[in-house]
Symmetry: C2
Subunit: 484 residues, 2 copies
């Protein structure tokens, strides 16, 4: 018979508490901040594995180098042993996560690793590569909310992570897993990706912290030192290949297979395990209350999938008993999900994504389309789209109220404005906008807006310096004019 | 007779604890996270005020619009009633600060306002303008430390604040105080500064959040949309005056006096109260242990002054019983403090600061010189300097190990490297580098470095993309060459 033991050790004395099955339980505090669940005298193991999302039944260990199902070619997701997780109890999880949150015990102070048992229990603490990701501010958008008639509007500042975007939440999981695999003796010589943006920046920083080589493969016309300054600064080996993106991806796959290079591309679902903590953290920051509506920008659709996954996990383990509505916002110039949504998700066609200021979500054939649709269907979901004009103006309008976010936040804000106009949001609703990157990464976009140089954008909130002679009267008159 | 009452109310019952003077004490929890100290039945008031640092005895309330002593023209600092603060006891303060840290009760989750009683108790909670400042990562510089033979090297990421620099720590205090003054009925029409850098960005963001007009005064040749994109985006009124910096300052002073504009310049010491929490937070992040050495870049010298102030306060209230060594690092091209240090601080001469990549500390006549010297003398202090070559190379070297910091961090890193070479740091010392701003604000500097375009810099850690034909063999050969 399995005897589950949880002991509360306080001041060197043990305390028995009653567990969910009314048997005696025994929790041991390894340290101030980690509670171990014992089973038959041994610490509970929380198991996770890859499984094929097409339902063909294939599973693989997380430390296997594999990106697609061997049987049917489907994508892989990470599954967790929910039975073991259920033992602790919802209140126990909430308390554990709260105790660890932003605290001093490495790596549990990270808001991703503070939820380690739900994210990636397979990695030993000493192999975790963490840069204190998560725990970002939920900006209370008081003034913007007032303008919209919303009293409870917040913007989640995922750009307040080490490399300036939400990518850190996932990259810590992937790089930690690879670090463990290397320590276990696997011959992995480096980690590669083919990205010009946030992904390569995040990968390069985590690899540099861990001392694992990072390799960025890109088509030649996508490479400039300015564009890639983050991975370049972190010492990533940046390969500028004389081909287009497809040609580039072909070489990446070949090299990965034969040369012991691990791929950190959008098919690798380890990162989604870290990214799913966004939703858990949001609830945590509201003392475990569920918001009414979350609007998240979407390109490759990994993030909206992860957002849903986090909520489903909380629901399954009893931490919450209702779901937020989830709205995915796309750029009109890169809107395959939106077009499918208009057909009730009954049809889907990849498109050729056009150039958009929301560069990180300029994707015509999102890898996580199926995952995203499943989430949207489960969360009373909706998809909105925004034109270049709407994106840029929404972004600027947000900045005037204290925000300083990326254009992708502008996409989400534009969706918010539409929903408000269409009367789809109650004034008392708690609304969260997910901001995916730091505005400091988008100086060109913001300067372009205020200098009225953006294509297709009719500037409505432009600001510019006021040139004046250095005379007291002129200055006072200008101030009076503006302040009245 | 004064009866001090502190009651611990837990689960609706009151508990008496013994206080520092062994009388019965009574603490009442207003809420989960705030403990009020009662005196004769009324909540303890923590008083703070401005006083003249020249020792002439003048004092002023914090809600008075004043920047210099009326009697002698000296600078003003903020003083706190240490007797009232002493009542709680060191353990009580540590517990209070820890309970609030990054938690959900506004504004105490902010690491500045979580220490409100020490920072600015005069502001009512509902008038605080906070954007969750502080609580930034202490980056464990494991790899850089290994290179240097240091096992306990950390870099405090003050760039992980809302506007990308440490300025937010102080600006929240100033803007909150002004917000309170406006709510109290004072006729303040806006807040002004004359800065092209982090200060104007921070001021503009906090003002935008609060709905208070921000005004930035600058000489015409210092104004470009790119340089000022943060305040411009936040809607600050940016006045580009046809004069030089001195002429600009003259008009600022005039306008401030007559037009009800509050000055957020470097003479205003309210910001130092927020900035001093850096040191307190660092100790907090080490479970209240004091590091051995802190290296901080210095320009106007407010930050090093504030750093010292935080430690002195902790010492006076019994939280710590030793002091770190504090080293201030200057750019060689803007090194008035360093030159004075070489003369044992017996002489001081302002200089004309030359252009340096460490632009934020390009100051020839630092406002807080006297404050800084007092701190350095009290903290076994030292001043180091770094050339452009040393700054840029140190910065790049740090980035290769996962950091992504501003050139000012490069100044501090360069100072660290010198001290290591000179054998001034033990391998077991806990060393903290204060990074003052986010590297994302310094793309030009980093691109300039890796493209070898920086004046006076002999690039030693330059990285660049590798151009290759899109052929498998060429790619593999390149990878092998680099990874071996």
């Amino acid at each position: 018979m399995v005897r589950l033991c949880l002991v509360v050790r306080h001041s060197a004395s043990y305390k028995y508490i009653s567990g969910p099955d009314h048997s005696q339980h025994f929790i041991s505090f390894y340290s101030k901040n980690s509670i171990a669940v014992y089973k038959n005298g041994f610490p509970m193991e929380y198991r996770s594995w890859f499984y094929c999302i097409e339902g063909c039944g294939e599973t693989y260990p997380l430390n296997e180098i594999i990106y697609r199902c061997r049987a049917c070619g489907g994508l892989l997701d990470v599954a967790h042993d929910m039975d073991s997780l259920r033992v602790r109890g919802a209140a126990g999880w909430m308390r554990l996560f709260d105790e660890r949150y932003r605290r001093t015990e490495y790596p549990y102070g990270s808001s991703v690793w503070g939820k380690k048992e739900w994210v990636c229990p397979a990695v030993d603490d000493q192999h975790v590569v963490s840069i204190y990701e998560g725990g970002s501010n939920l900006f209370w958008a008081e003034r913007l909310g007032e303008e919209l008639g919303l009293g409870d509007l917040w913007v989640k500042q995922c750009g307040n992570n080490h490399t300036g975007s939400f990518k850190d939440l996932g990259m810590t999981v992937l790089v930690s897993m690879v670090n463990q695999m290397i320590e276990e003796g696997q011959d992995i010589r480096g980690i590669a990706c083919a990205s010009t943006g946030d992904t390569s920046a995040s990968l390069a920083a985590y690899c540099a912290s861990a001392g694992i080589p990072a390799i960025v493969f890109l088509p030649r016309d996508k490479v400039s030192v300015t564009q890639l300054i983050q991975p370049i600064s972190h010492g990533a080996l940046t390969l500028s290949l004389d081909t287009d993106f497809d040609g580039c991806m072909e070489i990446v796959q070949q090299v990965a297979e034969s040369e012991g290079i691990y791929l950190a591309n959008s098919m690798n679902s380890l990162r989604l395990e870290g990214q799913k903590t966004i939703g858990i953290e949001i609830c945590q920051q509201f003392d475990w209350e569920v918001p009414d509506l979350i609007i998240i920008p979407g390109g490759n659709l990994g993030n909206v999938s992860a957002l849903g996954k986090g909520f489903l996990m909380m629901e399954e383990l009893g931490l919450i008993d209702k779901r937020p509505r989830i709205v995915c916002a796309q750029a009109a110039r890169a809107n395959p999900l939106y077009q499918s949504y208009l057909k009730g998700f009954d049809e889907y066609e990849p498109i050729h994504a056009e150039s958009t200021v929301a560069s990180a979500i300029q994707i015509g054939n999102p890898v996580s389309y199926k995952r995203a649709v499943r989430v949207l269907k489960a969360f009373d979901g909706k998809v909105e789209q925004a034109t270049e004009d709407e994106i840029a103006n929404a972004s600027a309008r947000g900045d005037l109220t204290g925000l300083y976010n990326c254009p992708h936040t502008g996409v989400a804000l534009a969706a918010l404005f539409k929903m408000v106009e269409q009367g789809e949001i109650r004034s008392t609703d708690r609304v969260i906008i997910i901001s995916t990157a730091n505005g400091l990464k988008f100086t060109d976009f913001k300067v372009g807006y205020h200098e009225d140089r953006l294509d297709g954008v009719n500037v409505r909130h432009g600001q510019s310096p006021l040139e004046l002679p250095a005379r007291y009267d002129d200055v006072v008159r200008a101030i009076d004019r503006v302040l009245s």
